[in-house]
Protein backbone atom coordinates (compact mmCIF):
# COMPACT_ATOMS: atom_id res chain seq x y z
CA UNK A 1 0.00 0.00 0.00
CA UNK A 2 1.50 3.28 -1.06
CA UNK A 3 1.71 6.28 1.21
CA UNK A 4 -0.68 8.24 -1.01
CA UNK A 5 -3.24 5.47 -0.58
CA UNK A 6 -2.76 5.61 3.21
CA UNK A 7 -3.31 9.35 3.23
CA UNK A 8 -6.50 8.90 1.22
CA UNK A 9 -7.71 6.21 3.61
CA UNK A 10 -6.77 7.79 6.91
CA UNK A 11 -6.24 11.49 6.23
CA UNK A 12 -9.73 12.38 7.46
CA UNK A 13 -10.23 9.33 9.68
CA UNK A 14 -10.57 11.50 12.79
CA UNK A 15 -13.82 12.98 11.45
CA UNK A 16 -15.10 9.64 10.21
CA UNK A 17 -14.27 9.87 6.49
CA UNK A 18 -12.28 7.04 4.91
CA UNK A 19 -11.28 3.61 6.14
CA UNK A 20 -13.33 2.38 9.12
CA UNK A 21 -10.81 0.07 10.73
CA UNK A 22 -7.61 1.42 12.20
CA UNK A 23 -4.44 -0.40 11.13
CA UNK A 24 -3.85 -3.43 13.36
CA UNK A 25 -0.32 -4.57 12.60
CA UNK A 26 2.65 -3.82 10.33
CA UNK A 27 2.44 -0.16 11.22
CA UNK A 28 4.25 2.02 8.72
CA UNK A 29 5.72 5.39 9.47
CA UNK A 30 3.34 6.85 6.90
CA UNK A 31 0.32 5.48 8.75
CA UNK A 32 1.50 7.00 12.01
CA UNK A 33 2.13 10.40 10.43
CA UNK A 34 -1.23 10.36 8.64
CA UNK A 35 -3.39 9.24 11.55
CA UNK A 36 -1.79 11.48 14.16
CA UNK A 37 -2.03 14.38 11.71
CA UNK A 38 -5.66 13.51 11.11
CA UNK A 39 -6.21 13.66 14.86
CA UNK A 40 -4.87 17.23 14.86
CA UNK A 41 -8.16 18.23 13.21
CA UNK A 42 -9.83 17.81 16.58
CA UNK A 43 -7.13 19.70 18.46
CA UNK A 44 -7.48 22.61 16.05
CA UNK A 45 -11.28 22.43 16.18
CA UNK A 46 -11.38 22.59 19.99
CA UNK A 47 -8.64 25.17 20.22
CA UNK A 48 -9.94 27.60 17.60
CA UNK A 49 -13.60 27.54 18.63
CA UNK A 50 -12.89 27.73 22.37
CA UNK A 51 -10.45 30.57 21.79
CA UNK A 52 -12.81 32.65 19.65
CA UNK A 53 -15.85 32.13 21.87
CA UNK A 54 -13.76 32.42 25.02
CA UNK A 55 -12.27 35.74 23.94
CA UNK A 56 -15.60 37.59 24.18
CA UNK A 57 -16.61 35.97 27.44
CA UNK A 58 -13.14 36.68 28.84
CA UNK A 59 -13.54 40.38 28.04
CA UNK A 60 -16.84 40.34 29.91
CA UNK A 61 -15.21 38.54 32.86
CA UNK A 62 -12.27 40.93 32.94
CA UNK A 63 -14.55 43.95 32.91
CA UNK A 64 -16.84 42.27 35.44
CA UNK A 65 -14.00 41.56 37.85
CA UNK A 66 -12.81 45.14 37.74
CA UNK A 67 -16.34 46.49 38.23
CA UNK A 68 -17.23 48.29 41.44
CA UNK A 69 -20.70 46.77 41.49
CA UNK A 70 -20.62 43.56 43.55
CA UNK A 71 -23.41 42.03 41.44
CA UNK A 72 -21.00 41.95 38.49
CA UNK A 73 -17.75 41.52 40.41
CA UNK A 74 -18.58 38.57 42.65
CA UNK A 75 -19.81 36.15 39.95
CA UNK A 76 -16.81 37.00 37.75
CA UNK A 77 -14.39 36.52 40.66
CA UNK A 78 -15.90 33.17 41.58
CA UNK A 79 -15.98 31.85 38.05
CA UNK A 80 -12.35 32.81 37.52
CA UNK A 81 -11.35 31.31 40.86
CA UNK A 82 -13.15 28.02 40.24
CA UNK A 83 -11.76 27.46 36.78
CA UNK A 84 -8.23 28.63 37.57
CA UNK A 85 -8.01 26.92 40.95
CA UNK A 86 -8.92 23.39 39.89
CA UNK A 87 -7.31 21.01 37.41
CA UNK A 88 -8.71 21.03 33.90
CA UNK A 89 -8.62 17.24 33.99
CA UNK A 90 -11.09 17.18 36.90
CA UNK A 91 -13.21 19.85 35.18
CA UNK A 92 -13.51 17.62 32.13
CA UNK A 93 -14.54 14.64 34.26
CA UNK A 94 -17.03 16.69 36.25
CA UNK A 95 -18.46 18.26 33.11
CA UNK A 96 -18.88 14.89 31.43
CA UNK A 97 -20.64 13.28 34.39
CA UNK A 98 -22.77 16.38 34.95
CA UNK A 99 -23.97 16.23 31.35
CA UNK A 100 -24.50 12.48 31.70
CA UNK A 101 -26.73 13.01 34.74
CA UNK A 102 -28.66 15.80 33.02
CA UNK A 103 -29.05 13.68 29.91
CA UNK A 104 -30.80 10.93 31.84
CA UNK A 105 -33.48 13.45 32.81
CA UNK A 106 -33.76 15.78 29.82
CA UNK A 107 -33.29 14.57 26.26
CA UNK A 108 -32.11 18.09 25.38
CA UNK A 109 -28.69 17.33 26.87
CA UNK A 110 -28.10 14.40 24.52
CA UNK A 111 -25.37 16.06 22.38
CA UNK A 112 -23.61 17.50 25.44
CA UNK A 113 -22.12 14.14 26.42
CA UNK A 114 -20.31 13.97 23.08
CA UNK A 115 -16.83 15.44 23.03
CA UNK A 116 -17.50 17.90 20.19
CA UNK A 117 -19.92 19.91 22.32
CA UNK A 118 -19.37 18.92 25.97
CA UNK A 119 -15.59 19.21 25.97
CA UNK A 120 -15.85 22.40 23.94
CA UNK A 121 -18.01 24.00 26.63
CA UNK A 122 -15.55 23.04 29.38
CA UNK A 123 -12.62 24.35 27.35
CA UNK A 124 -14.54 27.53 26.54
CA UNK A 125 -15.22 28.27 30.21
CA UNK A 126 -11.68 27.35 31.20
CA UNK A 127 -9.97 29.56 28.65
CA UNK A 128 -12.44 32.38 29.38
CA UNK A 129 -11.46 32.23 33.06
CA UNK A 130 -7.70 32.23 32.38
CA UNK A 131 -7.93 34.98 29.75
CA UNK A 132 -10.38 36.91 31.94
CA UNK A 133 -7.73 37.10 34.65
CA UNK A 134 -5.17 38.27 32.07
CA UNK A 135 -7.56 40.97 30.81
CA UNK A 136 -8.35 42.00 34.37
CA UNK A 137 -4.66 42.47 35.04
CA UNK A 138 -4.34 44.49 31.83
CA UNK A 139 -7.33 46.68 32.75
CA UNK A 140 -5.64 47.52 36.05
CA UNK A 141 -2.47 48.63 34.28
CA UNK A 142 -4.05 50.91 31.69
CA UNK A 143 -2.19 54.23 31.97
CA UNK A 144 -4.19 56.76 33.96
CA UNK A 145 -3.48 59.41 31.34
CA UNK A 146 -5.26 57.45 28.60
CA UNK A 147 -8.50 57.34 30.53
CA UNK A 148 -8.18 60.99 31.56
CA UNK A 149 -7.60 61.98 27.94
CA UNK A 150 -10.73 60.07 26.92
CA UNK A 151 -12.69 61.91 29.62
CA UNK A 152 -11.30 65.22 28.42
CA UNK A 153 -12.54 64.47 24.90
CA UNK A 154 -16.00 63.85 26.32
CA UNK A 155 -16.00 60.12 25.63
CA UNK A 156 -18.16 58.21 28.06
CA UNK A 157 -19.65 54.76 28.59
CA UNK A 158 -19.58 52.41 25.64
CA UNK A 159 -17.69 54.82 23.38
CA UNK A 160 -14.90 55.28 25.89
CA UNK A 161 -14.64 51.54 26.38
CA UNK A 162 -14.73 50.71 22.68
CA UNK A 163 -12.28 53.37 21.53
CA UNK A 164 -9.83 53.75 24.40
CA UNK A 165 -9.98 51.18 27.18
CA UNK A 166 -10.55 48.01 25.17
CA UNK A 167 -7.77 48.54 22.59
CA UNK A 168 -5.29 49.48 25.30
CA UNK A 169 -6.30 46.47 27.37
CA UNK A 170 -5.76 44.17 24.40
CA UNK A 171 -2.40 45.74 23.62
CA UNK A 172 -1.17 45.24 27.18
CA UNK A 173 -2.59 41.74 27.52
CA UNK A 174 -1.55 40.41 24.13
CA UNK A 175 1.81 38.74 24.95
CA UNK A 176 0.26 36.90 27.92
CA UNK A 177 -2.81 36.09 25.87
CA UNK A 178 -0.61 34.48 23.21
CA UNK A 179 0.79 32.14 25.84
CA UNK A 180 -2.72 31.36 26.97
CA UNK A 181 -3.66 30.43 23.40
CA UNK A 182 -0.70 28.07 23.17
CA UNK A 183 -1.60 26.41 26.49
CA UNK A 184 -5.15 26.04 25.29
CA UNK A 185 -4.08 24.12 22.21
CA UNK A 186 -1.96 21.88 24.42
CA UNK A 187 -4.84 21.39 26.82
CA UNK A 188 -7.04 20.07 24.03
CA UNK A 189 -5.04 16.83 24.15
CA UNK A 190 -6.67 15.99 27.50
CA UNK A 191 -10.17 15.70 26.06
CA UNK A 192 -10.22 12.06 25.08
CA UNK A 193 -8.40 10.93 28.22
CA UNK A 194 -11.01 12.36 30.55
CA UNK A 195 -14.24 10.47 30.20
CA UNK A 196 -15.44 11.89 26.91
CA UNK A 197 -15.62 8.83 24.66
CA UNK A 198 -13.89 8.79 21.28
CA UNK A 199 -16.88 7.66 19.24
CA UNK A 200 -15.90 5.08 16.59
CA UNK A 201 -12.24 5.71 17.47
CA UNK A 202 -12.44 9.26 16.15
CA UNK A 203 -9.94 10.83 18.49
CA UNK A 204 -7.45 13.63 18.63
CA UNK A 205 -3.73 13.48 17.88
CA UNK A 206 -2.71 12.22 21.31
CA UNK A 207 -5.43 9.57 21.19
CA UNK A 208 -3.90 8.09 18.04
CA UNK A 209 -0.33 8.56 19.29
CA UNK A 210 -1.09 6.58 22.44
CA UNK A 211 -2.93 4.01 20.29
CA UNK A 212 0.25 3.42 18.30
CA UNK A 213 2.42 3.45 21.44
CA UNK A 214 0.17 0.81 23.01
CA UNK A 215 0.11 -1.40 19.94
CA UNK A 216 3.79 -1.23 19.05
CA UNK A 217 5.06 -0.86 22.62
CA UNK A 218 7.45 1.70 21.15
CA UNK A 219 6.92 5.27 22.38
CA UNK A 220 9.90 6.60 20.44
CA UNK A 221 8.06 6.99 17.14
CA UNK A 222 4.48 8.25 17.72
CA UNK A 223 5.21 10.76 20.51
CA UNK A 224 7.99 12.58 18.65
CA UNK A 225 5.65 12.76 15.63
CA UNK A 226 2.99 14.28 17.89
CA UNK A 227 5.57 16.66 19.33
CA UNK A 228 6.54 17.73 15.82
CA UNK A 229 2.94 18.50 14.90
CA UNK A 230 2.45 20.51 18.07
CA UNK A 231 5.64 22.50 17.61
CA UNK A 232 4.38 23.33 14.11
CA UNK A 233 0.99 24.35 15.51
CA UNK A 234 2.67 26.47 18.18
CA UNK A 235 4.73 28.27 15.54
CA UNK A 236 1.58 28.98 13.50
CA UNK A 237 -0.25 30.31 16.57
CA UNK A 238 2.71 32.52 17.47
CA UNK A 239 2.95 33.97 13.96
CA UNK A 240 -0.80 34.71 13.74
CA UNK A 241 -0.81 36.32 17.16
CA UNK A 242 2.36 38.19 16.22
CA UNK A 243 0.56 39.72 13.22
CA UNK A 244 -2.32 40.84 15.44
CA UNK A 245 0.21 42.19 17.94
CA UNK A 246 1.77 44.25 15.18
CA UNK A 247 -1.62 45.65 14.26
CA UNK A 248 -2.48 46.49 17.87
CA UNK A 249 0.80 48.36 18.25
CA UNK A 250 0.88 50.02 14.83
CA UNK A 251 0.50 53.57 16.20
CA UNK A 252 3.57 53.27 18.42
CA UNK A 253 7.16 54.04 17.38
CA UNK A 254 9.15 50.89 16.59
CA UNK A 255 11.26 51.00 19.72
CA UNK A 256 8.31 51.23 22.11
CA UNK A 257 6.34 48.29 20.75
CA UNK A 258 5.84 45.54 23.26
CA UNK A 259 7.80 42.48 22.30
CA UNK A 260 6.23 39.05 22.27
CA UNK A 261 7.88 37.05 25.00
CA UNK A 262 7.25 33.37 25.32
CA UNK A 263 7.13 31.53 28.58
CA UNK A 264 7.49 27.76 28.87
CA UNK A 265 4.23 25.91 28.73
CA UNK A 266 2.54 24.90 31.95
CA UNK A 267 -0.25 22.47 32.62
CA UNK A 268 -3.46 23.67 34.07
Amino acid sequence: MSCLQTIQDYGLRAVGIGERLLPRDDFTLCQQFTLIGSGMIWNIYFGVLALIAGFFFATALGVGKSSTNPWFRKPAEWLIFIFRGSPLFIQFFFGYFLFLTLKSQYAFFDPFTAAWLGALIVLFLNTAAYSGEIFYGALLSIPKGDVEAADAYGLTGWNRFRRVIWPTMLRLAWPAYTNEAIFLFHATTLVFFSGFPAWQQRGDALYYASYFADKTFNPFVPYPILAGYFILLTIIVISIFGLINGRLNRHLPQTQRSKMRLRPNLIR
Binding site: G85, F93, F94, P219, L226, A227, L262, I267
Partner: protein, 294 residues
Protein backbone atom coordinates in the same frame (compact mmCIF):
# COMPACT_ATOMS: atom_id res chain seq x y z
CA UNK B 1 -16.49 0.45 60.36
CA UNK B 2 -19.02 1.29 63.05
CA UNK B 3 -20.89 -1.44 64.94
CA UNK B 4 -24.29 -0.16 63.83
CA UNK B 5 -23.35 -0.60 60.18
CA UNK B 6 -24.13 -4.32 60.21
CA UNK B 7 -27.41 -4.00 58.33
CA UNK B 8 -27.39 -0.92 56.07
CA UNK B 9 -31.00 -1.38 54.95
CA UNK B 10 -32.32 -0.56 58.43
CA UNK B 11 -30.41 2.70 58.85
CA UNK B 12 -31.72 6.26 58.70
CA UNK B 13 -30.11 8.52 56.11
CA UNK B 14 -27.51 10.19 58.35
CA UNK B 15 -26.14 6.93 59.69
CA UNK B 16 -26.38 5.41 56.23
CA UNK B 17 -24.19 8.20 54.85
CA UNK B 18 -21.72 7.74 57.69
CA UNK B 19 -21.50 3.99 57.10
CA UNK B 20 -21.36 4.44 53.35
CA UNK B 21 -18.46 6.88 53.54
CA UNK B 22 -16.41 4.51 55.72
CA UNK B 23 -16.60 1.33 53.64
CA UNK B 24 -13.35 -0.40 52.76
CA UNK B 25 -13.33 1.01 49.25
CA UNK B 26 -13.80 4.54 50.52
CA UNK B 27 -10.78 3.98 52.75
CA UNK B 28 -8.88 3.31 49.52
CA UNK B 29 -10.07 6.69 48.24
CA UNK B 30 -8.77 8.40 51.37
CA UNK B 31 -5.46 6.55 51.05
CA UNK B 32 -5.15 7.76 47.48
CA UNK B 33 -5.52 11.36 48.70
CA UNK B 34 -2.51 10.58 50.84
CA UNK B 35 -0.78 9.21 47.72
CA UNK B 36 -1.30 12.56 46.03
CA UNK B 37 0.17 14.40 49.02
CA UNK B 38 3.14 12.03 49.14
CA UNK B 39 3.65 12.54 45.41
CA UNK B 40 3.69 16.31 45.91
CA UNK B 41 5.97 15.98 48.91
CA UNK B 42 8.53 13.91 47.01
CA UNK B 43 8.21 15.52 43.59
CA UNK B 44 8.57 19.13 44.70
CA UNK B 45 12.09 18.84 46.17
CA UNK B 46 13.27 16.39 43.50
CA UNK B 47 11.99 18.62 40.69
CA UNK B 48 13.56 21.62 42.38
CA UNK B 49 16.95 19.89 42.50
CA UNK B 50 16.56 18.82 38.85
CA UNK B 51 15.72 22.41 38.08
CA UNK B 52 18.71 23.70 40.01
CA UNK B 53 21.00 21.27 38.19
CA UNK B 54 19.47 22.22 34.84
CA UNK B 55 19.78 25.95 35.48
CA UNK B 56 23.36 25.63 36.68
CA UNK B 57 24.18 23.52 33.63
CA UNK B 58 22.61 26.12 31.33
CA UNK B 59 24.91 28.78 32.88
CA UNK B 60 27.98 26.59 32.71
CA UNK B 61 31.12 27.81 30.95
CA UNK B 62 31.67 24.28 29.57
CA UNK B 63 29.84 24.26 26.23
CA UNK B 64 28.44 20.68 26.04
CA UNK B 65 27.06 21.00 29.57
CA UNK B 66 25.51 24.33 28.65
CA UNK B 67 23.91 22.82 25.54
CA UNK B 68 22.56 19.98 27.62
CA UNK B 69 21.00 22.40 30.13
CA UNK B 70 19.49 24.59 27.43
CA UNK B 71 18.11 21.62 25.51
CA UNK B 72 16.56 20.22 28.68
CA UNK B 73 14.82 23.54 29.33
CA UNK B 74 13.82 24.07 25.71
CA UNK B 75 12.51 20.52 25.31
CA UNK B 76 9.35 21.23 27.28
CA UNK B 77 8.41 24.25 25.19
CA UNK B 78 5.93 23.75 22.41
CA UNK B 79 4.89 20.22 23.31
CA UNK B 80 1.86 19.26 25.43
CA UNK B 81 3.06 18.04 28.81
CA UNK B 82 0.66 15.17 28.93
CA UNK B 83 2.47 13.76 25.90
CA UNK B 84 5.65 13.91 27.96
CA UNK B 85 3.94 12.07 30.77
CA UNK B 86 2.72 9.29 28.52
CA UNK B 87 6.09 9.11 26.78
CA UNK B 88 8.37 9.07 29.81
CA UNK B 89 6.50 6.37 31.67
CA UNK B 90 7.04 3.83 28.89
CA UNK B 91 10.45 5.16 27.91
CA UNK B 92 11.83 5.07 31.49
CA UNK B 93 10.44 1.61 32.08
CA UNK B 94 11.99 0.32 28.87
CA UNK B 95 15.29 2.08 29.53
CA UNK B 96 15.60 0.48 32.97
CA UNK B 97 14.73 -2.96 31.66
CA UNK B 98 17.09 -2.56 28.72
CA UNK B 99 20.02 -1.65 30.96
CA UNK B 100 19.29 -4.54 33.33
CA UNK B 101 18.98 -6.84 30.34
CA UNK B 102 22.42 -5.83 29.06
CA UNK B 103 23.99 -6.29 32.48
CA UNK B 104 22.21 -9.40 33.73
CA UNK B 105 21.89 -11.42 30.53
CA UNK B 106 25.04 -10.77 28.47
CA UNK B 107 24.75 -14.06 26.53
CA UNK B 108 21.28 -13.25 25.17
CA UNK B 109 21.60 -13.09 21.38
CA UNK B 110 18.14 -12.12 20.12
CA UNK B 111 17.37 -8.41 19.60
CA UNK B 112 15.32 -6.68 22.30
CA UNK B 113 12.90 -5.08 19.88
CA UNK B 114 11.23 -7.78 17.77
CA UNK B 115 8.60 -6.17 15.57
CA UNK B 116 5.92 -4.97 17.93
CA UNK B 117 7.38 -6.64 21.02
CA UNK B 118 9.85 -5.51 23.59
CA UNK B 119 11.54 -8.68 24.83
CA UNK B 120 14.01 -8.84 27.70
CA UNK B 121 15.13 -11.91 29.66
CA UNK B 122 13.17 -12.92 32.78
CA UNK B 123 15.85 -11.75 35.20
CA UNK B 124 15.80 -8.25 33.72
CA UNK B 125 12.06 -7.70 34.25
CA UNK B 126 11.41 -4.76 36.54
CA UNK B 127 10.00 -5.53 38.99
CA UNK B 128 10.57 -9.29 38.87
CA UNK B 129 7.63 -11.37 37.69
CA UNK B 130 7.19 -13.13 41.05
CA UNK B 131 7.36 -9.93 43.11
CA UNK B 132 4.30 -9.21 45.28
CA UNK B 133 1.63 -6.77 44.19
CA UNK B 134 2.76 -3.90 46.42
CA UNK B 135 6.22 -3.91 44.81
CA UNK B 136 4.60 -3.45 41.40
CA UNK B 137 2.49 -0.59 42.72
CA UNK B 138 5.40 1.11 44.46
CA UNK B 139 7.55 0.75 41.35
CA UNK B 140 4.78 2.30 39.23
CA UNK B 141 4.48 5.13 41.73
CA UNK B 142 8.18 5.90 41.65
CA UNK B 143 8.28 5.85 37.86
CA UNK B 144 5.46 8.40 38.04
CA UNK B 145 7.40 10.52 40.55
CA UNK B 146 10.47 10.45 38.32
CA UNK B 147 8.35 11.46 35.31
CA UNK B 148 6.82 14.36 37.22
CA UNK B 149 10.26 15.39 38.45
CA UNK B 150 11.75 15.39 34.94
CA UNK B 151 8.92 17.46 33.45
CA UNK B 152 8.61 19.89 36.34
CA UNK B 153 12.37 20.01 36.74
CA UNK B 154 12.52 21.57 33.29
CA UNK B 155 9.98 24.23 34.30
CA UNK B 156 11.85 24.87 37.54
CA UNK B 157 15.12 25.09 35.62
CA UNK B 158 13.62 27.78 33.44
CA UNK B 159 12.43 29.76 36.46
CA UNK B 160 15.74 29.43 38.29
CA UNK B 161 17.72 30.31 35.16
CA UNK B 162 15.72 33.53 34.90
CA UNK B 163 16.16 34.22 38.61
CA UNK B 164 19.94 33.74 38.41
CA UNK B 165 20.07 36.30 35.62
CA UNK B 166 17.90 38.71 37.63
CA UNK B 167 20.43 39.00 40.46
CA UNK B 168 22.08 42.42 39.92
CA UNK B 169 25.26 41.98 37.98
CA UNK B 170 27.09 44.48 40.16
CA UNK B 171 26.82 41.99 43.03
CA UNK B 172 28.71 39.37 41.06
CA UNK B 173 31.29 41.88 39.92
CA UNK B 174 31.81 42.98 43.52
CA UNK B 175 32.35 39.36 44.52
CA UNK B 176 34.91 38.99 41.73
CA UNK B 177 36.59 42.20 42.86
CA UNK B 178 36.94 40.73 46.34
CA UNK B 179 38.86 37.87 44.78
CA UNK B 180 36.19 35.17 45.02
CA UNK B 181 36.46 32.28 42.61
CA UNK B 182 33.59 31.49 40.22
CA UNK B 183 32.47 28.71 42.51
CA UNK B 184 32.51 30.90 45.59
CA UNK B 185 30.62 33.66 43.78
CA UNK B 186 27.99 31.15 42.70
CA UNK B 187 27.39 29.61 46.11
CA UNK B 188 27.90 32.63 48.38
CA UNK B 189 26.49 35.51 46.34
CA UNK B 190 24.30 34.28 43.50
CA UNK B 191 22.38 31.40 45.09
CA UNK B 192 21.34 33.12 48.36
CA UNK B 193 20.01 36.13 46.45
CA UNK B 194 18.22 34.40 43.61
CA UNK B 195 15.37 32.93 45.69
CA UNK B 196 13.42 36.13 46.04
CA UNK B 197 13.42 36.51 42.25
CA UNK B 198 12.56 32.84 41.78
CA UNK B 199 9.72 32.65 44.28
CA UNK B 200 6.89 34.09 42.16
CA UNK B 201 7.75 31.65 39.38
CA UNK B 202 8.21 28.75 41.76
CA UNK B 203 4.95 29.40 43.58
CA UNK B 204 3.19 29.49 40.23
CA UNK B 205 4.87 26.17 39.48
CA UNK B 206 3.66 24.72 42.77
CA UNK B 207 0.08 25.64 41.84
CA UNK B 208 0.56 24.00 38.48
CA UNK B 209 2.05 20.93 40.14
CA UNK B 210 -0.98 20.60 42.40
CA UNK B 211 -3.23 20.83 39.38
CA UNK B 212 -1.16 18.25 37.51
CA UNK B 213 -1.58 15.54 40.15
CA UNK B 214 -4.78 14.08 38.65
CA UNK B 215 -2.67 13.13 35.64
CA UNK B 216 -1.33 10.31 37.85
CA UNK B 217 -4.43 8.52 36.65
CA UNK B 218 -2.98 8.44 33.14
CA UNK B 219 0.24 6.94 34.44
CA UNK B 220 -1.60 3.89 35.70
CA UNK B 221 -1.52 4.71 39.42
CA UNK B 222 -4.76 4.02 41.32
CA UNK B 223 -5.25 7.62 42.39
CA UNK B 224 -8.23 9.72 43.43
CA UNK B 225 -9.57 9.99 39.88
CA UNK B 226 -9.55 6.20 39.59
CA UNK B 227 -11.37 5.71 42.88
CA UNK B 228 -13.85 8.51 42.21
CA UNK B 229 -14.85 6.81 38.96
CA UNK B 230 -14.90 3.42 40.60
CA UNK B 231 -16.96 4.38 43.65
CA UNK B 232 -19.30 6.78 41.88
CA UNK B 233 -20.57 4.36 39.25
CA UNK B 234 -24.06 2.99 39.85
CA UNK B 235 -24.21 -0.03 42.15
CA UNK B 236 -26.92 -2.71 42.22
CA UNK B 237 -28.01 -4.41 45.45
CA UNK B 238 -26.53 -7.68 44.16
CA UNK B 239 -22.93 -6.58 44.60
CA UNK B 240 -23.00 -4.13 47.47
CA UNK B 241 -24.87 -3.35 50.66
CA UNK B 242 -25.06 0.29 49.64
CA UNK B 243 -26.82 0.42 46.27
CA UNK B 244 -27.02 3.82 44.57
CA UNK B 245 -27.36 5.40 41.14
CA UNK B 246 -24.68 7.12 39.10
CA UNK B 247 -23.00 9.42 41.63
CA UNK B 248 -19.79 10.07 39.72
CA UNK B 249 -20.81 13.70 39.22
CA UNK B 250 -20.87 14.24 43.00
CA UNK B 251 -17.56 12.49 43.52
CA UNK B 252 -15.90 14.72 40.96
CA UNK B 253 -17.57 17.75 42.49
CA UNK B 254 -15.92 16.67 45.74
CA UNK B 255 -12.54 16.44 44.01
CA UNK B 256 -13.08 19.88 42.48
CA UNK B 257 -13.74 21.35 45.92
CA UNK B 258 -10.71 19.50 47.35
CA UNK B 259 -8.42 21.02 44.74
CA UNK B 260 -9.93 24.48 45.12
CA UNK B 261 -9.35 24.37 48.87
CA UNK B 262 -5.82 23.07 48.39
CA UNK B 263 -4.85 25.81 45.93
CA UNK B 264 -6.44 28.48 48.14
CA UNK B 265 -4.48 27.34 51.20
CA UNK B 266 -1.25 27.22 49.17
CA UNK B 267 -1.94 30.69 47.84
CA UNK B 268 -2.25 32.12 51.34
CA UNK B 269 0.84 30.26 52.60
CA UNK B 270 2.96 31.37 49.63
CA UNK B 271 1.83 34.97 50.07
CA UNK B 272 3.12 34.90 53.64
CA UNK B 273 6.41 33.33 52.54
CA UNK B 274 6.83 36.02 49.89
CA UNK B 275 6.26 38.71 52.51
CA UNK B 276 8.99 37.24 54.69
CA UNK B 277 11.45 36.81 51.83
CA UNK B 278 11.04 40.31 50.44
CA UNK B 279 11.72 41.78 53.87
CA UNK B 280 14.78 43.98 53.57
CA UNK B 281 15.37 43.23 49.88
CA UNK B 282 16.23 45.96 47.40
CA UNK B 283 13.11 45.28 45.34
CA UNK B 284 9.83 47.15 44.89
CA UNK B 285 8.13 44.77 47.34
CA UNK B 286 10.82 45.23 49.99
CA UNK B 287 10.69 49.00 49.55
CA UNK B 288 6.91 49.00 49.98
CA UNK B 289 7.26 47.04 53.23
CA UNK B 290 9.86 49.50 54.51
CA UNK B 291 7.62 52.46 53.73
CA UNK B 292 4.59 50.81 55.34
CA UNK B 293 6.54 50.20 58.55
CA UNK B 294 7.96 53.71 58.70
Amino acid sequence: MFPFCADPEQLDSLRWTLCYLTTGKHMNLYWSVLTVLVLLGITAPVALSFGFAGASAARSAFAPLRWFGKTYIALVRGVPDIAFFLFFVIALDQAIEYVRHRVLCPDWSEPVRQGNDFVVCQAAKMPLGEAPQWVHETYGFFIAVLTFAIVFGAFAANVLFGAMRAVPHAQLETAAAYGMSTRQTFWRVLVPQMWVYALPGLSNLWMVLIKATPLLFLLGVEDIVYWARELGGSKTPRFTDYPHGDWRMWYFLGLLVFYLAFTRVSEIALDRLMKRLTHGQATAGGEAQRKAAA
